[in-house]
């Protein structure tokens, strides 16, 4: 392998340095101001010189031995500055893709006795490799956390690579390498195009590349991925004995029967091989209100439960005084906001069961329900209100508007008028519920085993929706999104049906225990009523959405670093804020009125568990790879030896100069 050189100097420094050898030669000729010395006779000297003139070229060289030694010394120093090196490992790369993990766990400071974080170490290693790049080599840098970002496209421009590398910042996000791998793979393994005229052709030449992954490999195995032309090299960063103590959950809930009591829960996890004792401090608006001393066994967890009466609103912070390498998970915040009551319009010809449910105390606490008769739908007031987005939820019972409102809707025994929903089949012989979608928030607490339904229709929802209740004939309750809102359709009436002049109940659901629960879920989910305590916990990098009809077109979000950002109302009548990189409490202000606060916490067990596992292999697609130090020993620099050699030459020159031992 050819020696490779990387300059330690900038071009203009090289120019100055290049002037030194000619200067030495010039000085050597200039310096020959011979010292005059009177001798008895030059007779013998002249005779001696005459003899020497015979082979003058060699003599001249011999006489210039000092000059030659000086030039040799300079050459050695120049070579040292060129930073010659031999690559000891066969790492013959022409194209390299560096995948640098900047997820939360990479903030762990466990490199070099805690001096550097894992991300710093990754950047240092990559920077060293960039220094070693030869001309013609190109590199690409991709940073990844839960999403991947191309920091620098393929380039051979080393200063640019170094600059972009330095710009990679740690994030508090979880890790997922899939995106990054797909990005890299897209460049190394071009797909095929299906142009019918030309047949199936490869879009571009496959470009093999080295894929260097710098990570602590705290991410799930990557399935369903083919490396193809990528030659993976995995660089495991981090110390195996790193310990961490993390707050993995922190939330509040009001007591069921005593709303003045607030339960504050926290879960502390010990990711270490030995037991740890810490003091957990609970702060309300930066004042210490409680503290607990806990001991957590190796690898175990502890659940803390503080019950407080005095907490009405404010910011709760939990701190653990753990001296570990990852600090981002040693603090957690949660916010108790004043509950916001939602506006709900209930349009019904007279559904007493549903009306009673909406008028209950529990429902009134959550929302302000306005009631109207179906003719109201034709009034200009309704049209103005519906178009303004004032309502959070409009319930159309046995009726439908001309146009869907800017609000979530619940249609009961009616269909939204936009034509996407259709009645598939009328059912009038008794409907048997065979399944409910328990994973959906609307249905998760419902047990409909005792519900009987007489008549109804099979609901055909638009694509993207979910069927919530399936009958033997097809779905009778479904929900589907619409431009940022959601429409739910119940395919049967909750009101009595008239048959042969008599009224019979169409269903017994309003009389079962599951109905109030359903109404509550409708209010919390469809009307968007968050329970006041668990108002919002946003993951770092996640989006926080606030709906507030009373606010102006622009809100101000103040992040934990007290930086202000403007957020505009979007078409869906919400304010969305996604710059939630920092953990802490964010405040949403409408001019000088505090509308809401939300907390951003890490709460990620894979990130908090920052112990590296060098013995485990990493699965990338179909390949099991050993994570190893792929980058460390690659460079064998010889500049030190060159400098030592230069010193030897200097000594030799000194000796020759003083001792007259010219060759």
């Amino acid at each position: 392998m050819w020696p490779q050189m990387t300059s330690l100097l900038s071009p203009w420094q090289w120019v100055i340095l290049a002037l030194v050898p000619p200067a030495v030669v010039a000085l050597y000729f200039l310096k020959l101001k011979r010292t005059p010395l009177e001798v008895p006779s030059t007779y013998l000297w002249k005779k001696s010189i005459e003899d020497l003139h015979v082979n003058s070229l060699w003599q001249r060289l011999r006489r210039s031995i000092l000059l030659l030694l000086q030039l040799l010394l300079l050459l050695l120093l120049l070579l040292a500055l060129l930073n010659f090196s031999w690559q000891s490992s066969a790492f013959a790369e022409r194209r390299v893709i560096y995948l640098i993990d900047n997820s939360a766990s990479m903030q762990t400071k466990d490199i070099a006795e805690g001096a550097r974080s894992r991300l710093d170490e990754a950047k240092r290693l990559v920077a060293a490799r960039i220094d070693e790049m030869r001309s013609g080599d190109v590199a690409m840098i991709i940073s990844f956390n839960e999403r991947a970002q191309v920091v620098q496209q393929y380039t051979g421009n080393r200063p640019e690579l170094r600059r972009q590398l330095a710009n990679i910042r740690p994030t508090n996000r979880p890790t997922s390498i899939d995106d990054a791998l797909r990005l890299a793979s897209a460049l190394a393994n071009p797909g095929r195009t299906s142009n019918t005229d030309e047949g199936d052709v490869v879009a571009a030449d496959a470009v093999p590349a080295d894929l260097v992954v710098l990570s602590d490999f705290r991410f799930p195995p990557v399935a369903d991925f083919a490396l193809g032309n990528l030659e993976p090299k995995l660089e495991m960063l981090g110390a195996a004995d790193t310990s961490n103590l993390a707050i993995v959950n922190f939330s509040t809930a009001r007591h069921e029967s005593r709303p003045d009591l607030v339960h504050i829960f926290a879960r502390l996890q010990n990711y270490a091989e030995e037991e740890q004792s810490v003091r957990a401090e609970l702060l309300l608006d930066d004042f210490l209100i409680d503290a607990k001393e806990v001991a957590i066994g190796a690898g175990g967890f502890v659940t803390l439960d503080f019950t407080r009466e005095d907490v009405e609103t404010g910011v709760l912070e939990l701190r653990v005084a753990a001296a570990d390498a990852l600090t981002v998970d040693n603090r957690a915040w949660t916010v108790i906001n004043r509950p916001q009551r939602r506006r709900i319009l209930f349009v019904s010809p007279g559904n007493t069961g549903l009306r009673r449910a909406l008028e209950s105390d529990a429902a009134r606490e959550l929302a302000q329900v306005e009631q109207a008769e179906p003719p109201y739908l034709n009034s200009p007031e309704y049209k103005a209100e519906a178009a303004s987005g004032r309502y959070d939820l409009i319930i159309y019972d046995e009726c439908a508007p001309e146009k869907l409102p800017f609000a979530n809707t619940l249609f009961i025994n009616a269909l939204p008028p936009d034509g996407r929903w259709t009645k598939q089949e009328e059912l009038d012989t008794g409907i048997q519920i065979i399944d409910t979608e328990r994973t959906h928030p609307l249905m998760k607490l419902l047990d409909l085993g005792d519900v009987m339904i007489y008549q109804g229709f099979v609901v055909k929802r638009p694509s993207g929706g979910v069927n919530l209740i399936d009958s033997s004939r097809g779905p009778i309750f479904a929900v589907a999104p619409r431009d940022g809102y959601e429409d739910a359709v119940i395919g049967f009436s909750l009101m009595p049906v008239e048959e042969n002049g008599e009224l019979y109940p169409n269903t017994n659901w309003p009389r079962t225990r599951s109905f109030p629960v359903f109404i509550r879920e409708v209010l919390t989910y469809l009307a968007g009523v968050e329970t006041d305590t668990n108002f919002a916990n946003v993951r770092p990098g996640g989006t926080f959405a606030l709906r507030n009809e009373a606010a102006g077109d622009e809100l101000t979000v103040v992040d934990p670093a007290k930086k202000k950002q403007r957020v505009r109302r979007n078409r869906q009548n919400t304010y969305e804020f996604a710059d939630t990189q920092q953990v802490g409490v964010y405040e949403v202000w409408d001019d000088d009125r505090l509308l809401a606060r939300f907390a951003v916490n890490l709460f990620s067990q894979p990130e908090s568990d920052n112990r590296t596992r060098p013995e485990e292999s990493v699965r990338l697609g179909h390949e099991e790879l050993a994570a190893q130090s792929a980058l460390q020993p690659s460079r064998r620099e010889i500049w030190k030896w060159l400098v030592v050699l230069g010193l030897v030459v200097l000594l030799a020159e000194w000796y020759i100069y003083n001792r007259r031992v010219y060759l």
Binding site: L32, R34, T35, P36, L37, E38, V39, P40, S41, T42, Y43, L44, W45, K46, K47, S48, I49, D51, L52, Q59, R62, R63, N658, R660, V661, Y662, L663
Partner: protein, 308 residues
């Protein structure tokens, strides 16, 4: 490099003028005499055998009496026995002419002691030997003006005068070896011992000069005085060597090969001079300025046969 030059200069200036002769040396020289390999006709009765038969006490031969002979030399004992007249011949004892020719050029003013000082000491010592043996001693320099030849000295009483004269010799005569020797030979036609004390550093060569001495049919000794600085130069660096006599310049970068080459040249130079002298019946001796004068005379010159 500059240290070598400065040390040379310093040694030139700081050397102490030692007396030419010291009592200890004189005591050792008292017992010696100059020896000539040839017997020359002297001008005065001296302590040397002369080719002329004369009135010394040393018997030489008999010969038959012829009328006119001094009858004082008739050996009457032989006449009584043989009844024939024989003349008894005695060897004549004559004085020896000793010439010391000193090169007082600027190049001789180098070394510690300077080559000139050394030459003067040498001349003084040899002259002293000559004087106490009643020889005719004449010391001259190469640049001696024909109008003012060196004094002719004779007898022990002249030692002081000789010393005075020697001490008056200053370096700086700008005369080539060849010219100086020629002038000397023209001035001094007599036979005798001539000791040329010189460093022979003449760019025109020493051969012509020495040929004059050969032609003079003198018993010639060449004492080749070289200083330690010339024999083992301790100089380094890039130098501009300036000839002190003619300001000739030689630019040298002193290096080990150059010094080696210099030594070879020097050896060739010395060897050439020695060869030249021995082939022409002259005695040659290389004299270092570091060698004590008494040691030189007592060992080297005695071996050479100049003194006994």
């Amino acid at each position: 490099m500059s240290s070598a030059s400065s040390s040379t200069a310093a040694s030139t200036k700081s050397r102490v003028e030692t007396p030419l002769l010291n009592p200890a040396l004189l005591a050792r020289l008292e017992r010696m005499e100059l020896v000539s390999r040839k017997i020359y006709r002297g001008q005065m009765k001296g302590e040397r055998r002369s080719p002329r038969k004369g009135q010394s006490v040393e018997f030489a031969d008999f010969r038959s009496y012829v009328p006119g002979d001094d009858i004082r030399f008739i050996d009457w004992n032989t006449y009584a026995r043989l009844d024939k007249l024989f003349i008894k011949l005695f060897l004549e004892e004559e004085d020896l002419h000793f010439y010391a020719l000193i090169d007082a050029s600027l190049s001789m003013d180098f070394g510690d002691p300077s080559k000139l000082t050394y030459a003067k000491q040498l001349a003084a010592a040899l002259g002293f030997i000559g004087l106490i043996r009643s020889d005719r001693v004449r010391i001259e320099t190469l640049g001696q003006a024909p109008q003012a030849p060196g004094p002719v000295l004779r007898g022990r009483s002249s030692v002081w005068r000789m010393q005075q004269y020697l001490e008056g010799i200053e370096p700086g005569e700008n005369v080539s070896l060849h010219e100086g020797v020629r002038n000397f030979c023209l001035r001094n036609s007599g036979k005798g011992i001539v000791v040329l004390i010189s460093d022979l550093m003449d760019k025109e060569g020493y051969e012509a000069a020495l040929r004059y001495l050969v032609a003079q049919q003198m018993d010639a000794y060449v004492l080749h005085v070289l200083s330690e600085e010339e024999l083992n130069p301790e100089i380094t660096g890039d130098l501009r060597l300036v000839d002190c006599e003619d300001d000739d310049v030689a630019e040298v970068t002193v290096s080990a090969p150059l010094l080696k080459r210099y030594q070879q040249t020097l050896a060739a130079f010395i060897g050439g001079a020695k060869d030249f002298c021995s082939r022409r019946g002259m005695s040659y001796a290389l004299v270092r300025n570091q060698m004590p004068v008494d040691e030189l005379i007592l060992s080297l010159l005695r071996r050479q046969g100049l003194v006994r």
